[in-house]
C-alpha cells in the first residue's frame, strides 16, 4: 500500500456520512481519470460546468496545493455576481481533491464556515468512478446558506410562491 493510498483510506474512515447534513453523489463515466481530474481542478474547465444552469461561473481561481485558493464567482441569470473563496486542503492527483470555505487561502479561518467538498476519483475499466461529497456545518448554517441563495430576483419570486403555496 502506498502512502497516498493509506492517506486516502484514513480519510475515508474519517468522513463518516451524516444523512442530515451531507450529500454523496457517485457517477461512473466513460472518460479517463486524468480528464475528470482536469475538469475539477483547472479553472478553464471548471467554469464550463460548476454553476447549475441558468447560473454561470464568471471567474474561477485554483492554486492546486494544500493552503491554496479555491475561488469561484457565480453569476446569476440577471448578471449579478456572488464570489466565494475557500482553501484547498488535500491534493492527490487523479485520486482526491478536498477544499473548504471554513478556511481562506493560507489556512486563515473564514467568517462563515459552512461547507467542505471531497472529490474522490478512481479508474473503472476504461473509464472513471468519481464521488462528490458535500459536507455542511449544521441546520442553522444550512438555512442561512439557503437564504443567501434567495437574494436575486427569481429567488425572491420563489420565496413569495413558497409562502403562497404554504397558505393554500
Amino acid at each position: 500500500m502506498t502512502d497516498t493510498t493509506a492517506a486516502a483510506t484514513a480519510l475515508d474512515a474519517d468522513t463518516a456520512f451524516d444523512p442530515a447534513l451531507d450529500l454523496v453523489l457517485e457517477r461512473v463515466i466513460d472518460v479517463p481519470p486524468a480528464l475528470v481530474w482536469a475538469a475539477w481542478t483547472q479553472p478553464e474547465h471548471l467554469v464550463h460546468w460548476f454553476a447549475p444552469a441558468p447560473w454561470g461561473v464568471a471567474r474561477a481561481e485554483i492554486d492546486l496545493r494544500p493552503g491554496g485558493i479555491f475561488s469561484t464567482v457565480m453569476r446569476s441569470p440577471e448578471g449579478e455576481e456572488f464570489p466565494g473563496t475557500g482553501c484547498i486542503l488535500e491534493v492527490i492527483p487523479e485520486r482526491r481533491f478536498v477544499w473548504t470555505d471554513a478556511l481562506l487561502p493560507g489556512y486563515r479561518p473564514s467568517a462563515e464556515p459552512f461547507f467542505t467538498g471531497v472529490v474522490t476519483i478512481e479508474p473503472e475499466g476504461e473509464g472513471t468512478r468519481y464521488r462528490a461529497m458535500a459536507r455542511h456545518r449544521d441546520e442553522e448554517g444550512c438555512n442561512r446558506h439557503a437564504e443567501m441563495g434567495f437574494h436575486d430576483g427569481w429567488g425572491a419570486a420563489l420565496d413569495q410562491l413558497v409562502a403562497y403555496a404554504k397558505a393554500l
Binding site: 480528464l35 482536469a38 460546468w49 441546520e139 439557503a146
Partner: protein, 75 residues
C-alpha cells in the same frame, strides 16, 4: 396591473421556476396557465434536497462537459 413586475420579467422568472420543477405550465390558445407542482415544493422546503438537486444538475453538466473534452482530444 396587479404586479409591479413587467410581464416579460414575470415570464422569465416563471420559466426558471418551471426548469426547477416548482411549477408546470400548459398552453391553451394564447393563454399559458402555470400551476404549482407540489412535488417540486416538497423538495424546495427540504434544504438538503435542494442542495442535492443543485449537485445532480452540476454533475450532469460535468459529465456532458467531460464527454466533450474526450471527443475534442481524440479528434
Amino acid at each position: 396591473m396587479p404586479f409591479e413586475m413587467a410581464l416579460p420579467s414575470f415570464v422569465q422568472h416563471l420559466r426558471v421556476l418551471e426548469e426547477c420543477g416548482l411549477v408546470r405550465s400548459s398552453k391553451d390558445g394564447r393563454v399559458r396557465t402555470y400551476r404549482l407542482d407540489p412535488e417540486g415544493f416538497r423538495g424546495a422546503e427540504d434544504w438538503l434536497e435542494g442542495q442535492r438537486q443543485t449537485w445532480e444538475r452540476r454533475l450532469d453538466q460535468l459529465d456532458s462537459y467531460l464527454i466533450q473534452m474526450k471527443e475534442t482530444r481524440h479528434d
